[in-house]
């Protein structure tokens, strides 16, 4: 196989496993040094987590602090008075709700198209035999390594020529066909026994029937992984939307965030309030549906 896109034992890496709990060892001396080691490890884990969380925490603090307090330039762990003035200022000066709506529409549409298109394609690659199958699959996979900047100029002209420029579709369609999704779908569907599919075929079921009655019911986790990965990727996408969405009213949240930073400059209260609006929905989804995100990332890492 060419591009290796799957590390070993990928799924559920974050979930707890019991296998690595060693049994209790006898001996008091030993257990004391063990406890010391445990404290050290715990300390290290806490430090690492503080480094990860500190900027996020700082974002929340700044977003909720008043302008005068921010200009004071002191290091405060919590604002003296919580205020929503930053949110008010952002909401009254920019069409934030429109941008939020754009982000939601684009991400949901992209995710739905990705799921449908890749379920069909994944089934074909996993369970149908046809000439050129592996060459086609590898060609699709090769596009994963392609930076959008290679094709951006030509893609922009194509999108304009197709009359998509100035609509959501200029962002949705180029991102909806994800080779990564195709890869995920194929790998996952390969684990459905071929005998099962072939038995149904011999009983006279058509491919559509096999797909909808046998493969789909067994692929619910796959659908969730595809959906969430695509949703996250689209929600956070920046490089292509920056080019394709030049009309203020079509901006998604990341593009709006950049625009707002350009307008407000060092007004961190406003920028962080808006960044919080951009970040929160995906962080919540990520924590609630962590299982599916982790599976998707662990299988690939391609965003």
């Amino acid at each position: 196989m060419s591009i290796s896109v799957e590390p070993p034992g990928a799924a559920d890496a974050v979930a707890e496993t019991r296998s690595d709990r060693p049994g209790r060892r006898p001996g008091r001396h030993r257990s004391r040094s063990r406890r010391g080691l445990l404290v050290l490890r715990l300390l290290a884990a806490v430090v690492v987590c503080v480094v990860v969380v500190a900027p996020l925490y700082w974002m929340v603090v700044v977003a909720l602090s008043s302008r005068s307090e921010l200009l004071g330039g002191e290091l405060r762990l919590w604002p003296r008075a919580l205020t929503t003035e930053n949110f008010d200022r952002v909401l009254s000066s920019f069409p934030v709700l429109t941008w939020l709506g754009n982000s939601v529409s684009i991400a949901l549409t992209t995710a739905v198209i990705t799921v449908v298109v890749n379920l069909l394609g994944g089934y074909a690659f996993a369970h149908l035999r046809f000439r050129g199958s592996s060459a086609l699959f590898l060609t699709a996979l090769a596009t994963l390594t392609l930076p959008v900047q290679v094709i951006m100029v030509a893609l922009f002209r194509l999108v304009t020529a197709l009359g998509l420029y100035g609509s959501y579709w200029a962002v949705i369609l180029p991102t909806a066909a994800s080779a990564f999704g195709l890869f995920l779908a194929r790998q996952s569907m390969l684990s459905i026994p071929r005998d099962l599919v072939e038995a149904a075929r011999i009983d006279g079921a058509g491919h559509w029937r096999v797909l909808t009655r046998i493969v789909l019911p067994l692929s619910k986790p796959l659908v969730a992984v595809l959906f969430f990965m695509s949703l996250l990727g689209s929600w956070n996408d920046f490089a292509w939307p920056l080019i394709a969405l030049q009309d203020n009213r079509l901006f998604t949240l990341p593009i709006g965030l950049l625009y707002l930073q350009g307008q407000f400059g060092p007004d961190y209260g406003a920028t962080m309030a808006f960044a919080l609006i951009n970040v929160t929905p995906m962080v919540v989804l990520f924590l609630v549906f962590q299982r599916y995100f982790v599976q998707g990332f662990a299988r690939s890492g391609i965003r």
Partner: protein, 293 residues
């Protein structure tokens, strides 16, 4: 299977694949050919261009900013790839041991993966601000001199690397954690019986057994590093004095700010060749690995 059945199956396969192939073909392969054509033109993107042969490529050879961006891209890749892998490996080993609240630690570490590149970069702007940033406040609080994260070339480059690490280490940890969980505990029991200490166990058991994860991460990190756009574009904009300009941001600026689109396409072609060269290299590496195993 009869040939008629085989033909029917092929027809069904192509029918099922058609939406995907149509989208990929139209929005990836057509623009790829288009980019090659545009790279041979002089054009600002408004109206047709004029054929210029290899003029754009000739300009590239003598363009100091192009070379600067290429060197920066390479330096960034060479720094970020081993650092994020080493930190990810360390974190995964740490969080694979017995630890209270372990799932919480793991969740926190992978949380940056949910955050957009733009927001991550803006967090960087906030933390690395020379006047009000968290980091310089902390440095000054403990009596150290503040670092010119925006005005100093090396410091700005370091800030891009640090923000990228914050964003990417969790992913590296996740992959290594998956690898670690594939190693059976009986191996460690045997090693302990043989008198191997912790470091020896890591050096001769854990690390070799994580070979597949390491190889995978090496490829992914290099490819991602080559494509670093959001962080550079928002955090430093390639500055100060092009100290953090990379190929992808240079291509974007050329194509959509300066609007020298033929030249931007030529930079894109260089990116394509570099990416393809690396992909081929890893493909050959992967093949020889398969033979070895």
């Amino acid at each position: 299977m009869s040939s008629r059945q085989a033909r029917g199956e092929a027809r069904a396969a192509y029918l099922l694949l058609s939406p995907n192939l149509l989208l990929l073909g139209l929005f990836v392969f057509v623009p790829l050919v288009g980019a090659a054509v545009i790279s041979l033109q002089r054009t600002d993107g408004f109206g047709g261009g004029t054929f210029a042969g290899l003029a754009n490529y000739a300009t590239l050879v003598g363009d100091p900013l192009f070379w600067r961006s290429l060197v920066n891209t390479t330096a960034f890749t060479v720094l970020v790839t081993p650092l994020s892998m080493a930190l990810g490996l360390g974190a995964s080993v740490l969080l694979n041991t017995v630890l209270p609240a372990r799932p919480v630690f793991r969740s926190v570490l992978i949380l940056p993966m949910a955050i957009s590149g733009v927001a991550t970069a803006l967090l960087g702007v906030l933390v690395f601000d020379e006047n009000t940033g968290l980091l310089d406040l902390l440095l000054r609080a403990v009596g150290l001199p503040a670092v010119p994260w925006q005005s100093g070339s090396a410091a700005a480059f370091a800030s891009v690397v640090l923000v990228t690490l914050w964003w990417r280490v969790g992913f590296n940890m996740l992959i290594y954690l998956a690898g670690l969980q594939g190693i059976g505990p009986d191996l460690y029991e045997a090693a302990t019986l043989d008198g191997a200490n912790r470091w020896q166990q890591f050096r001769h058991l854990t690390f070799p057994l994580l070979g597949a994860s390491t190889f995978f991460l090496l490829i992914i990190n290099v490819i991602f590093s080559f494509q670093v756009f959001d962080i550079v574009f928002v955090l430093t904009g390639g500055g100060p004095r092009n100290a953090t300009s990379v190929l992808v941001t240079y291509a974007y600026d050329t194509g959509f700010e300066v609007r020298d689109q033929g030249y931007a396409a030529a930079i894109g072609m260089v990116l394509l060749v570099l990416t393809m060269a690396f992909t081929l290299l890893q493909w050959r590496g992967n093949r020889s690995r398969d033979v070895v195993e």
